[in-house]
Symmetry: C2
Subunit: 133 residues, 2 copies
């Protein structure tokens, strides 16, 4: 069984000190499916939501459009449990390995947000929304 | 054999019209290893370098630090050949499937830039630089 990755609030504060947030206070957060590694979505975290993610083990972003804390899947049920996290060489991007509930990270009800494939000049949807159940 | 993905300059212009560049003229470009899917690095493209990437089939970023066109691997030989590309639901992030030459995307000579894994409060390097050959 895969266990959820969590740390203490004190450890999360120390871990966040190594992350370089940009001039808007944000770092890139990439959610990758565990164990396949496929990228599900790219979004952003500020220091507060990074710490909340690390402490709760549940992906929590900063919504740039709504300007609010965004616990992914809170309304849809498509939450993302954290299995592990890596920081990149620049310190400004995080890769989270997650278990995606509901088999849909995208708000279009697709597994991944990266579903439009370039074919010549056209971006073509190459995956289908999952049927509701 | 895996073939390199390229489009005509005219097709690249049309494809770029669907990409939403931010207030700095940039879109997120994620390079993922083909066929494993593992994220190698996260960087940025402006319209010009996106079109150059699509036309040449070789990953070409915009360096935010140097403020210049950055053909990845031009000096190291660690170029990235494009196998395919997907656009996300928001239209502001691109996933490129690439063949990474030299088995090192990171400037630290590691396969992926995401090599520091959180363990408690500490980010620990969990992959080693490849030996030079």
């Amino acid at each position: 069984m895969t266990s959820i990755f969590k740390v203490s609030a004190a450890d999360a504060e120390i871990a966040a000190d190594s992350v370089k947030f940009d001039d808007k206070g944000l770092a890139l957060a990439l959610a990758c499916d565990h164990p396949s590694g496929e990228i599900l979505m790219a979004a952003w975290m500020n220091r507060e939501t990074l710490i909340q993610t690390l402490v709760t083990g549940r992906m929590t972003y900063w919504s740039r459009s709504r300007k609010e804390i965004w616990v992914k899947g809170l309304t849809s049920g498509h939450v993302q449990d954290v299995i592990g996290v890596e920081l990149d060489c620049d310190g400004d991007a995080l890769r989270f390995r997650v278990v995606q509930h509901g088999h849909a990270a995208c708000h279009t009800n697709r597994f991944s947000c990266f579903y439009r494939t370039l074919d010549g000049a056209k971006w073509t949807a190459t995956s289908h929304p999952r049927s509701s159940d």
